[in-house]
């Protein structure tokens, strides 16, 4: 079965990435920012799979696995940090911890 034209795959990946980026910039809640990052990572993974399919190699999926691993590890640590942040500031607003300015 022929795969879809791979430009469209990349366009979809790009759109998803854009949506994730917008979400990162607009939302204040840290949980939502982390979700937006996951969206962006997912879109990158999609792009890799599309590329792997275009060249007919397994490398795309291998890269996808690495991205998956990295996302999992990063999320674990990130959420632990969010917990600490909540304990300190009692809020999930990302505008509040802004003491490192100057």
């Amino acid at each position: 079965m022929p795969a879809p034209p791979f430009e469209y795959g990349l366009i979809v990946a790009g759109i998803l990435f854009g949506i994730g980026a917008v979400g990162l910039l607009v939302r204040k809640n840290i949980i939502f920012m982390l979700m937006s990052i996951e969206i962006m990572l997912n879109s990158a993974a999609l792009a890799f799979i599309v590329a792997g399919s275009r060249w007919g190699k397994a490398d795309g999926q291998v890269m996808f696995i690495f991205i998956l691993t990295m996302a999992a590890a990063e999320l674990a640590v990130g959420l632990a940090l969010v917990l600490q942040l909540y304990n300190t500031f009692r809020s999930l607003d990302s505008d509040i911890p802004s003491r490192m300015r100057g």
């Binding site: 022929p2 795969a3 879809p4 034209p5 791979f6 430009e7 795959g9 990349l10 366009i11 979809v12 790009g14 998803l16 854009g18 949506i19 994730g20 980026a21 917008v22 979400g23 607009v26 939302r27 204040k28 809640n29 949980i31 939502f32 982390l34 979700m35 937006s36 996951e38 969206i39 997912n42 999609l46 399919s53 275009r54 060249w55 007919g56 190699k57 397994a58 490398d59 999926q61 291998v62 696995i65 998956l68 691993t69 996302a71 999992a72 590890a73 990063e74 999320l75 674990a76 640590v77 959420l79 632990a80 969010v82 917990l83 600490q84 909540y86 304990n87 809020s91 999930l92 607003d93």
Partner: protein
């Protein structure tokens, strides 16, 4: 199979937009699950069933569960909801939207300028992927495992201090 791709693409985009526009985190998480499922189907349509399976199991399975746990622990009450509702203004979407729009246009231009490539249409199954992983990408596998170890230890350590302080106070 192209119709599978187009439908799941539309679903993915719509659900992702819903993710970032919800006020309650739990709603957003649910829409995120839908988005991940749609992307998994897109993987399948591109001839990568193993990747699709992994996406469901790990992304939609483990990572979402992590999110749910945190949301449960932190459970922002109704005050946070008020904050969220009042926080998102129409104007705030404008500038990021413009920037991302420009980015997407650039991407489109790049894609349309490149020569037309037909898809290979092959299905790359688990066997091929594993052969690649244990072959040329062995080092990467090891590094990924160390990364996971680091994440594990880091997460454990960061949360352990939390409980210690709680005990002492």
């Amino acid at each position: 199979m192209n119709w599978l791709f187009y439908i799941s693409a539309i679903v993915a985009i719509i659900s992702t937009v819903m993710v970032i526009t919800r006020t309650k985190p739990v709603h957003a998480i649910l829409y995120l699950v839908v988005s991940f499922f749609a992307v998994a189907l897109m993987f399948f349509s591109f001839g990568a069933p193993f990747a699709a399976a992994l996406e469901i199991i790990i992304y939609a399975g483990a990572i979402i569960v992590l999110f749910v746990f945190i949301i449960m622990l932190l459970s922002p009450g109704s005050e946070a909801g008020e904050q969220e509702r009042s926080g998102i203004k129409r104007e705030e979407w404008f500038f990021p939207g413009v920037m991302i729009g420009i980015l997407l246009i650039q991407l489109l231009i790049a894609l349309l300028m490149s020569p037309n490539n037909p898809g290979a249409g092959l299905e790359i199954g688990p066997k091929a992927v594993s052969a690649a992983l244990f072959g040329p990408y062995l080092l990467g596998v090891e590094l990924a495992s160390i990364l996971l170890l680091g994440g594990l230890v880091g997460a454990y350590h960061l949360c352990r201090r939390n409980s210690n302080q709680g005990d002492e106070q």
